[in-house]
Amino acid sequence: MIHDNDLLDSVALLALGTLSAGEAKELAAHVSTCDTCRREYAELRETAAIVGYAAELSVDLQASRGRNRPT
């Protein structure tokens, strides 16, 4: 398969998790068998997940929430 930028852009969406279920499954099947796409996915997957840190609450905000650890 030719690796144009559009395909690699789609791999970034797979890493971030913004594809529809059907698109994600179809692309995942390709990525599993393609070295170029696997490398792109492996490089972006961790970065996509750590975007979540942008929402990490400050210690002050958390103190107002209280400690609700499951027991």
């Binding site: 852009d9 996915y41 490089e43 972006l44 979540g52 210690v59």
Partner: protein, 170 residues
């Protein structure tokens, strides 16, 4: 996590103390509802206690972020008012070993790195992670062509990776 597998409560407490601000923050931002965010937080930590083997390897902070996002996506799917719109799916590739390049991060570092991106890249990435919408919906909402949104996300993620892990090439 090995100690949690041995039912070590102190190890679980330490994980909770280190990551509950992250888990709760993601759930709150995605769901915009304090009670629902609390439920998701409880669910995520119960999953860690009940099935610690579900974390296999890699960056624990990245893993728990994804687990939280996926749980929040489930909640969004279950909301009747959102039924008309497709919620994106996170399909992990278990056979692909992710690169692990980040040391311990915190919210301030990641927010600073996101702020350094061009605003259109930052906003596409944040909407993609927290918005509970597909890239097609991002394009519709922002008025940008679909291909442009996809490119903004990929380029933005590459820059973010380079900023937060300067030892790797962008």
């Amino acid at each position: 996590m090995a100690r949690i597998r041995e039912r070590d409560v102190a190890a679980f407490d330490a994980i909770y103390d280190d990551y509950n601000r992250l888990v709760h923050g993601i759930a709150l931002q995605m769901l915009e509802d304090a009670m629902a965010a609390e439920d998701v937080t409880q669910t995520v930590f119960l999953k860690i206690w009940d099935t610690p083997e579900s974390f296999v390897r890699g960056n624990f902070g990245a893993w728990i972020s994804r687990v939280t996002r996926n749980r929040a996506l489930d909640v969004l799917r279950s909301r009747a008012t959102r039924a008309e719109r497709e919620i994106p799916a996170d399909v992990p590739l278990d056979d692909v070993l992710e690169d692990t390049v980040f040391a311990r991060l915190d919210g301030e570092q990641v927010r600073a790195a996101l702020s350094a991106l061009p605003v259109e890249q930052r906003s596409a990435i944040e909407l993609g992670f927290f918005g509970g919408i597909t890239h097609e919906e991002i394009a519709r909402r922002t008025g940008a062509p679909l291909g442009t949104i996809k490119t903004r996300i990929r380029i933005g993620l590459r820059k973010l990776r380079a900023m937060l892990a300067p030892s790797v090439q962008s």
